[in-house]
Symmetry: D3
């Protein structure tokens, strides 16, 4: 017979071990041979309201199995392209080791994982955890810059220090801006009250951040929004799931109404994937305990698989 | 006194047995005397990820009681019309008998129910159950064609066969296309990865399907979208609840972000109800275990009651 | 050091007693000294489907703590304004006493609370409870009229009487219209079937109500919608959370698909806050048992804090 | 072939309209012809903490379908008896009409339903609703006494009056004790703090109530506990689901730890069913919104079906 | 330093890929080298009420990670024994391939997995899925008998055939009894109404089954209960999670009140592990969608890890 | 009239701000004048599996409102005593300030709160948070020893150090044992695998801990168990809610089956309250996100209010 499922397994989404996209789990970080390496960073001591992002990597992995049916890649009838087809080399590195009560030790382990992916020549895609895990992710690029950071988020995350806290989930963009290898920030989706006070905004503007609200990005459209991101520079994409609207991303620590819808982000990222070289990605703040129907984890998996597919497609072309 | 509730019951939504819309339950399928006959098809062995559509009919029935307040029909102030007013003849047939582990036997029982409605001259409205229940629903029209099928769905459902499976929830549109009495397919809302691989799309296009994504339909608007559906032909409407966006329809087996919003579908269906003769309807894939707040079942009930109201209004006119 | 958190508490959102916005609780209603006084009205015997709005005040209070981080007010980068900054005088009055099985006694206690706020010169902001609690709220303004009522709601709530019920959640706008000090009603968001039958609509139109659906308001835009509300008159705002779409407000008794999105309401209210004198607010029908992910309570808190901030900002200006 | 399912339906538990035990729904209360008539009393304005008992009847009905498999009754291998076998005449009367905001009108409708069952010679089994619905249930026996009431409950429910409330869920046993046709009360399971203060206990003891805690009943055992109930008198059984332990009955308004386990109650009731004539039953305070896994409703259904089976078995014998 | 965690990972329970007990995943079934091989059998088309046991293997695997802290095995202070210490060879085989709508094909794949474990000399421990998956598990022992089956269950599962169904979750013990290599059945925990009618009990008794209710086993105690199981014969243990009480195992398709508590089963199994050779185990009917707090999956993982530890401890001794 | 509710508020459980037991909130820790001072310690960075104990204090406070009906204290009919009657002086101190990512700073703030209570002469009752919050609680007694610690827990929590962690939730009893003012430990309920390996047990035994499992305590009974606790010494009680069985305490980070039932603990604590001087209490590890039906928080509130009542009753006597 002729169909491609005659041999092998049907491999329905609900069957099998939950690695990311059901891709191979490579426990030995010295043995990575892949285009994309997915790392879990289940750290959430940096959260300021609802906890639980530590279970984000597991939830995203399980949700990603929904999109693993079909053996021959993901055919997109609108683009008439099959993404993630045969030959795609994605692996799951498992999780960075987390040490409870110890922020620095945990972050160091995350940095180690991202560096391992980079050393293997793979694009690191890190699954948070809270947004503080972006700090070690960006640090891992220290000798691989310059990079420009594109942030999708409800919150500016540009707090310098409060009560001694410099590595919580309100600080990552400030910590990034301090790094020499980070040349700029596009901070899109920022809206409503958050832990960043007026001084933080002033500081971010001084640094040169391009701060845009959801309504501002929406008024621009995906093309014009993408045009605000510099061309010809390597991009690191950091997606706080709360950049999306609570209607599709309720499962997060600090939801903020008035957020992005699915295609608003997806079309913007697709343009960047075609135009820039995306060298790293993280997606953070999925908190499955507040995601009773599972749609947030599905959103995270759907965004990541589509983004990875488009990055790899652009690379091949 | 003068108000219509002085006698009889107040009959609040939370009071009473949960039949569809609190309409009469007619257990004897030889005794149906109605314009519309609602049949439950609680079959879900055809699902490929999250199960539970077997409880869809019960959930939709219970949700439908929310819309049963008011004894004098449903007044729509935008249309200035009272739908489902006195004289409306809708009945609830109960459920088709389902045989666990047995797909064919279960499907045969569903077909029997739809045929009973048709023989009584009632429009069958079938509550799934997974989308495979559309297979017996369409088969029941075998000697009552031709019909054109309008599908609202995230997924193409045009898989021919895999590992011997031909009657799962990824197959119904292929099975429909094979029937002589089915003259065409309008497949709207199709997006993102699904169980249908590229060959399925090629086959569907060959068959003549009109495949449109949510973004394509949205760009067209309801009128132009409806204009793509042939006039002068009897329509069978099959609504997979996952055609809607997960923000309003989380409670389904395989949610897909980027779906239709309420009025996008409702306005489209209202046009069809005015313009074409709608001879059958099914609404499938409501899975209440993933619908913790109940909005998916409410959506299903709200869509069906509004659609039925508009069909009957058009018939009278 | 220079940051404003060096002394005092960090006071993260998850820390501390849940009063509204973590503002001071003033148990003695004779000792209110505030610009805004928040009162809980945990009454829900007026509901006709899903109960639980009695826990609305607690849920909104807890959700409001999310927005209490930052000691220096809420900086809005789109407006370049810090709302709710130092000097803001908001207090939480706690709840009106509710007497189970007794609608009139409970309503009387709510009225007493609103009157206490008014006598202290504070703007009363009442947290429902079901929409029937609007009846005593409006009555409390009897000697402080005239007021025009702006209602955000899915349902008209203009039922006169049924089976002897005149003080349920389907009656408040009818009761308001009967009051001498109420000069008009703007009823926005009204859609779909509800407990108000056609006679109710006819009566409301006769009274002079401006009844607009979500689609009609959406077509107008926020500015034109606000322009329909009379200028130069004191406004009382009553927000039924089900005026919003179920995608962002699932946690309510009688959800109705096709509702308002966040900015549609927020921009409209912001215009009114700048243009009219808003003398009272209630937000009703948050039912946390149907709000498993907490987004409805967050929406209520976010809307109220933003609205209060804008009212107080306008007053100062 | 020989098996009894060859003809007719398999009728799995998840299939079909949710009447109690899938027994026939008899909407016309003048046409009842049954040994047992089940009535829903979805009233919950009498609750003092968590609401939602209004959905108790629907939840119990749906749970009862789990126990409707098998066409030939329920074989109990420990008793070697088939209960509820062919010939059993049970019907579902649907619900009493409830009028929101109106306690007395609602109670009157419940009383009407119970009287209809009694007039038809059927044993009324009423599904609450909160415990206040016991008040009209007991009143319906006014001309059919004397009856002795056996109460399974965590709370004494013997409050006379507070703030004018006499018909809430803290009052039913007091209201019962005031009735001439009620000759005594066995109040078993009473424990921990509740709305009944010391005066209530003093009054109950003065009335002659036999008040026993869970530990006291447990120390006695089922036989000795049953022996405390007078022989030779007609019994009315009122089961507040919170008499059971929260481990098996979390889904109730006011759970109280340290309650009865399943067999402790079941064995006690089985003895009474054999020894006394049980003339009426109610089971109250199932609140499905707090019964996320459904075990409380299943407990209610399991207790009622077993109790009814044993009552009918004793009658036949 | 001296502690065993100085090198390597802390490996907290929430960190890492969810294989069973975080043991190695061996995808190649020809490469199994282990004492125990864990196989997922995510099949649930055999259920007659609540579905979802297909996600049982994933839920049990995730719950099992809770028990993987500590690198040096599980020290039991009551036994003063370290179970599952260094040298333990357990692997996770992943899942058998399931074919939706196809019961026989799915069962065949499960049988293949169990046979692979047996051929490798490992004890197969199969995670259901519904109880029908026991049918292929037992079949896999066809040439490795004789075995005696010990069943922990609420239901007898001894239905022969109904409406053509012979391989649903009500049939496995009947199917087992028909096999030549099955010499007897100990059916413990059986209670209440179920799908097995009186004929089924008669047939089981004729076959020689030892049918004991929870109360009967409880009256005996663990030692005497174990003494009813024949000595000197290889045992296959099948644990339907609904044999346990719904208070600790709500997350299952057909809960039945009055079930076993944790130590009642654990002590009984510990005796068997010491006394008999246990050659295979399955644990079925964990349905995580009804296990909102996760205790059922934790129970399953806790029982299995303790049982495996005791089996391996006995083997070594 | 004569009843005590004629004046003042009815104050139903669902009404009012959620302080502990609805007792007064005293924000100024220098102004405490009370017998018992309740402090929230919403710290959970010390957890090793499921997070969320940071919301424990809020959940326990809200649950405690259930037990605040009745103005005249809590009458216990088994003891014939009114506990917590008029004259009871309990206050709620609010929460210790928590600094995310900073364990030491957060613990220091908790210690400060407990010391404030002690300096005011009040018994500190601390609501966790995870069990690591016991570390600062015990430290606060440094100059007020000697104390003997009675621990109710599933886990020994006697880990010295791992990966640098000394202040996580697996360490508190080890940290306590190191303090000079701690003279002994009664560790009851310990069972099953946990983060404490064999060395930890050896160390604890060397220290002189009395380690007893649930089964061992159950075999002893409450009196004999209490007799194992030294007389004539001040007791500090630390209750990890996971000492209780998951059937009544699912809402915790690391549930362990086979735990204590309600009365087993309550009777034991009641004896201690009568016999010893209890100088401090903490109750930890209530994680409301895993307590969907709310029974865990209710258990915590019920245990604490009963324990406080008994301590105060013993003091008065």
């Amino acid at each position: 017979m002729t169909n491609s499922y005659d041999s092998g397994r049907l491999n329905l989404p609900f069957v099998g071990i939950s690695t990311f996209g059901k891709y191979e789990y490579v426990a030995d970080w010295n043995a990575i041979d892949a285009d994309v390496a997915v790392l879990g960073a289940p750290f959430d001591f940096g959260t300021q309201w609802r906890p639980g992002a530590r279970f984000g990597p597991r939830a995203i992995r399980e949700a990603s199995t929904l999109f693993s049916f079909g053996h021959a890649g993901a055919y997109d009838h609108e683009d008439d392209v099959t993404y993630l087809g045969p030959g795609t080399k994605i692996i799951d590195m498992g999780d960075a080791d987390i040490v409870h009560t110890q922020t620095e030790a945990s972050h160091a382990n995350i940095e180690k994982g991202v560096r391992a992916a980079l050393e293997a020549g793979a694009i690191p895609v890190t699954l948070g955890g809270d947004h503080s895990i972006n700090i070690p992710c960006v640090r891992a690029f220290a000798d691989r810059g310059p990079i420009h950071i594109v942030q999708i988020d409800a919150h500016l995350d540009f707090v310098d220090e409060r009560h001694g806290v410099r590595y919580g989930h309100g600080n990552p963009m400030r910590r990034a801006a301090e790094q020499d290898h980070v040349t700029g920030l596009s901070q899109f989706g920022i809206r409503n009250v958050s832990s960043t006070a007026k001084e933080g905004y002033d500081d971010a503007r001084r640094f040169g951040s391009d701060i845009q609200s959801v309504r501002q990005i929406r008024a621009l459209g995906a093309e014009a929004a993408a045009a605000r991101v510099p061309e010809g520079v390597n991009l690191y994409i950091t997606i706080d799931i709360d950049g999306f609207d609570p209607s599709i991303a309720p499962g997060t620590g600090t939801p903020s109404h008035g957020g992005f819808l699915y295609y608003e982000v997806m079309e913007f990222l697709a343009i960047l994937a075609r135009r820039n070289c995306i060298v790293g990605v993280d997606l953070v703040e999925v908190a499955p305990d507040y995601d009773r129907d599972g749609t947030t984890a599905i959103l995270a998996a759907q965004v990541l698989l589509n983004l990875i597919g488009r990055i790899l497609h652009a690379r091949k072309a």
